[in-house]
Symmetry: C2
Subunit: 393 residues, 2 copies
């Protein structure tokens, strides 16, 4: 036991170290618990702020998403939602004396465009698909494809299902899943919880095993903010605020570069009916014009609250011209599913209805799914849950 | 131009939509700029907090890491570091009226154990290796290996260099890189900026192309907090606070499972001198005992501020017993490099020196690198920069 004594003599408490000299040690759990999802799915928020005069919580749930916390005796402010929240993944922030902040005791965060939010799950419904379950897990990879169109390597996120790792030579269909304005190749993985959704649906036998490719859709940037050679000088912003014309048609016309990269680097079924394309908001715009310009590429097309507001669009560009002629051509070439979903509180609702009218005029088949609520991630996650179950069957 | 008119009629401003109905649109750039790295590498912090009584910034730099901001006329508080900060990736938070918070206008954040921090880079030195440069980029993959030892799929992060994607049959050496207590498979990628470091060193021809495998080292958990089936119920905490004995020897003795998975799923040179293992803090502890128990596996061994405080360790376990005998065996089996680095302000400095004394007693070859400062990521990133350049040459 000489060894044991020697090491015991060297032992010391890390807690005695000066704070400035250490990281990754000595972390202490918080005194207050927040958020707490109660048994009835009401949610309680707490923050210790003894000097604050006002504390609010601002969330993305539907019923009373802004509310004041009340101060208790010990400087801990508290608020419980008056009603249970529907099952979902939620984001929220506190506003303490008018300063926006995360919940300081909640380590789970997500960035949406340029804001960072605290998050929580409410189970018992859709939220159970967004959580991790004890099922086989697929891979999530950040990789780069070379775009000759812009002369740059561009980043994408790729999900491959757990069974892909068997390396048994089996080939898989591909869903190309596009983000919205202000988003990037991390939006669907982080806010859309794509890996969790796909793992869970696949484990339940509700979807075909598929690869999901989530490319960066901001053609004037190579990757997400923080992951380009501009580093922190490229701050997250809406895509139409990025310097350079993001609606120049290059992304849509160069889309086959992405397909070629995927089909070269992954075990992929390379036929039309094994390819789907879908996108939210700006990604719905990209989806529409990519599929119109390449009617032979995709058997499945999904528009999620598509950004069909075409203000400022140069419709003389080959990528965007002759919509009706291209729709006619798409009809002729054929497709398995043209799926349009939009919330009826979304400002884009009418624009999506109008696209449907255009298709009606040409007697084209499509499905229009009207949901409640607006231009929100809760809808886009729901659309992915629904749309993915329709693919490749 | 009928099309153009039709769509123009549908156009509307997204800015007019009610806030609650939309996400991912209408993000506005902040009024204040923070942080700003000035031309002389001093850094200015700002926050709009008109009602605050005190505002502090707390960072992980060496010189005056805590300082008070001063309020200007418009409710914007400001502070500039008195001296330039050395080139590095830094983390910081604000404390407004004693409430810890992120910089609300800085979207770039990192989680370290259970705290989330705002981040920035200062260039001109090491920091330039941590930033993204316009060089070929490798892949970063989250994947799962099956551990028979614990009967679970466990998550790891794998970096493969850009040249790996040529799919030319070339095989690569592997660095197994282990995180510290409170960390997980996201710690080295996020806080160690492994992909940026490797991309940049490789582009400069300073390292051999290598695969970097970053497994989860908390044997009683399958993945990082938020990525296990406990979801948010498993909050980040120090590894010794996780229920279950994390120093039970299973991780170190089951380590060949990780190697087998990697060598089966990646194009890997599967010989001793093509394998390196290194780890920070608890990961240094894991590195020592894994290499002592498998002296035939690794040609390169790196201890980064290794957690060689063995208090509470059951040294009768086969994983941990007979250190001197195992060191002798390691010497006999041979190795290319045994590299020990520690900051001289680190509470673990003496324990690392004492390990060196043990090796001296056996006339074993090793290198001891003494650096300034303590148990901090700035040191671990520096150690990775240095150690990786010594490998596989």
């Amino acid at each position: 036991m000489k060894t044991k004594r020697l090491f015991a003599a060297l032992a010391f408490s890390l807690a005695l170290l000066p704070v400035a000299a250490q990281q990754n040690v000595g972390f202490r759990a918080a005194r207050v618990q927040s958020p707490v999802v109660n048994a009835d799915n009401t949610v309680t928020f707490r923050i210790s702020a003894p000097k604050a005069r006002t504390v609010m919580v601002m969330g993305d749930w539907e019923n009373e998403p802004r509310a004041s916390l009340k101060e208790g005796q010990d400087g801990v402010w508290e608020y419980t939602t008056p009603k249970p929240l529907p099952s979902e993944m939620y984001t929220y922030r506190f506003m303490v004396d008018n300063v926006m902040m995360l919940d300081p005791v909640n380590a789970f965060t997500r960035r949406d465009v340029g804001n960072v939010f605290s998050t929580f799950y409410v189970g018992g419904g859709n939220g159970d698909y967004y959580k991790v379950r004890d099922v086989p897990h697929g891979n999530v990879t950040q990789t780069y494809y070379h775009s000759d169109a812009v002369g740059q390597d561009r980043r994408m996120t790729v999900y491959t299902p757990a069974c892909y790792n068997k390396n048994d030579g089996k080939k898989y269909p591909v869903l190309y899943l596009l983000h919205g304005s202000g988003g990037d190749e991390t939006a669907w993985p982080e806010l859309g919880l794509v890996a969790h959704v796909m793992d869970n649906l696949l484990a339940e036998g509700k979807i075909e095993p598929m690869i999901v490719v989530m490319p960066n859709g901001n053609i004037v940037k190579t990757a997400a903010p923080g992951e380009t050679s501009e580093n922190h000088d490229y701050k997250p912003m809406m895509s139409n605020q990025i310097e350079g014309n993001y609606k120049n048609g290059i992304y849509e016309t160069a889309f086959p570069e992405i397909i070629s990269f995927v089909e070269k680097n992954y075990r992929v079924k390379a036929d039309k009916n094994s390819r789907a394309i879908a996108g939210l908001s700006m990604g719905g715009f990209h989806t529409l014009f990519t599929s119109l310009n390449y009617p032979e590429k995709f058997g499945y097309i999904g528009l999620f609250s598509a950004g069909l507001n075409l203000t400022g669009l140069d419709m003389t560009l080959p990528a965007y011209n002759d919509i009706d002629g291209k729709l006619a051509n798409l009809k002729k070439k054929g497709y398995k599913l043209f799926w349009v979903a939009c919330g009826n509180a979304d400002g884009l609702f009418q624009a999506n209805k109008d696209l449907c009218k255009r298709m009606d005029n040409q007697d084209m088949k499509y499905e229009f799914v009207e949901t409640s609520r607006g231009h929100i991630w809760a809808n886009w996650r729901q659309y992915l849950l629904t749309f993915s179950q329709r693919l490749f069957k």
